[in-house]
């Protein structure tokens, strides 16, 4: 604990890159799930089927109002017992992150749909487009386009939430950092590298998202 040891840093670095691949995998799969499931949740909430809309609303609220860590433990420990669903730690993480963030992306889509001017709906109805066509051709393309920057922000948030997966034994980047730290009795180097890698990836991404915002903003 006397400062920076380049030997420890260079020993830890390859392991952490390996961990970064797992982090990336969890983020990509988790966000795919969040983007698709979020849209499905939105459509269910806006559906005119009364019970379905309310149950979906309650589910979204429940997910938003409970901590991610609790949800992760719940899926990891109780799903195998209560539902008989056994998943690898990584899949457990992907599913939890995906469902957790779907609750948020669902609000994003909903805002995007509600921002569509009434005239668009009316023009579509005046052309006799069937209901599903109105959604597929007119509403969703515009709503999703408006949602892209916000979805990008959730992708970055999810990326930074992945270290939570180490609590169920996923060796992602921070998990690798911890192991490297334990092996060398020095945690400063691996955790500094971890922070640095998060920063190096997140910062350009958020600049990109801000660019997208400007690009998507005015139609």
């Amino acid at each position: 604990m006397t400062g920076w040891d380049w030997g420890v840093a260079s020993a830890a670095f390859p392991l952490m890159l390996k961990g970064l691949a797992v982090t990336a995998e969890a983020t990509v799969l988790g966000s795919c799930l969040a983007f698709v499931l979020g849209l499905i949740l939105t459509l269910l909430r806006l559906s005119r089927v009364p019970v379905l809309a309310q149950v979906t609303w309650a589910f979204v609220e429940f997910v938003r109002d409970t901590p991610l860590l609790v949800q992760l433990y719940f899926v990891f420990f109780s799903f195998p017992v209560t539902l008989g669903i056994k998943m690898s730690p990584l899949m457990t993480g992907v599913v939890t992150l995906g469902v957790h963030y779907a609750a948020y992306t669902s609000d994003t889509y909903r805002a995007g749909i509600q921002a569509i001017p009434r005239g668009q709906w009316e023009a579509a109805r005046a052309l006799s487009l069937p209901r599903h066509r109105v959604w597929l051709s007119v509403v969703l393309p515009q709503a999703i386009r408006r949602s892209v920057p916000s979805l990008g922000n959730y992708l970055i948030s999810m990326f930074k939430d992945t270290p939570i997966l180490l609590t169920v034994g996923v060796l992602e980047m921070v998990g690798q950092a911890e192991q490297a730290g334990a092996a060398n009795y020095s945690y400063v180097e691996p955790f500094t590298i971890a922070g640095f890698l998060f920063l190096v990836l997140s910062y350009p991404s958020s600049i990109l998202v801000r660019r997208l915002e400007r690009y998507v903003g005015p139609r």
Partner: protein
Amino acid sequence: MSDPGNAPVAAPVGTDEKITFSKVAKRFGPKVVLQDLDLNVKVGERVTLIGPSGSGKTTILRLLMGLEQVTSGTIRVDGEYFSHMERRGKLVPASEKHLRLARRRIGMVFQQYNLFPNMTVLRNITEAPVRVLGKSRADAEARARELLAMVGLEDCEGHRPHQLSGGMQQRVAIARALAMQPEVLLLDEVTAALDPELIGGVLNVLREIAATTDITMLIVTHEMRFAQDISDRVLMFDGGQVVEEAAPGKLFSDPDHERTRQFLSAVLEKT
């Protein structure tokens, strides 16, 4: 909501009657927008509705497009119920499905154009013919190109709406409505959102359509010269009721009612 109990089972309409409003009322909450309106439009007739804002003109077009529902009374198109449908001998308010079928005969051009920003100009025009009428994409595109040429925009088929001026967007919207081969065309203040120098182009396109087709037209406009040129009949509205109706030559030069005279002088003052 529409009350079928109030809908009189009206007498059959004449064969040359395209649109028939019978005792139509429309209220938004306590606000009465239309009251006891009887209105007939003949096949191929061009009828212009004028009057102050809030007098119910636009509501008539929106009712006829199925974007609003009547509070009471009935609307028929070609003698068939539009606002209602018959079920087990009774008149009930039209379902969305009934409206979707009934709407096919009617096209509308809106004040704010309402083009789909996520589609090219060509796609805006072909989407409904392909999805609703079941036309092949090639046929729909060929027809769309004819229509674009007619509105003077043959070079714009690949553009997105936001790349066009308001006047050009409105001409695309006219082409989009015509692509559905409507028997009735509703024009809702189609030049009201345009810069003055863009209005003429849009009106000329509409004059051309009026001259070369037999589409029945219902027009809400504040462009009095255009109304005079294009209309067979002009209806002056105020407070949800028809104050006066006459041929344009008569109504614009020698109106019978003081209210019409006031309105016309106020509108003409502006231009």
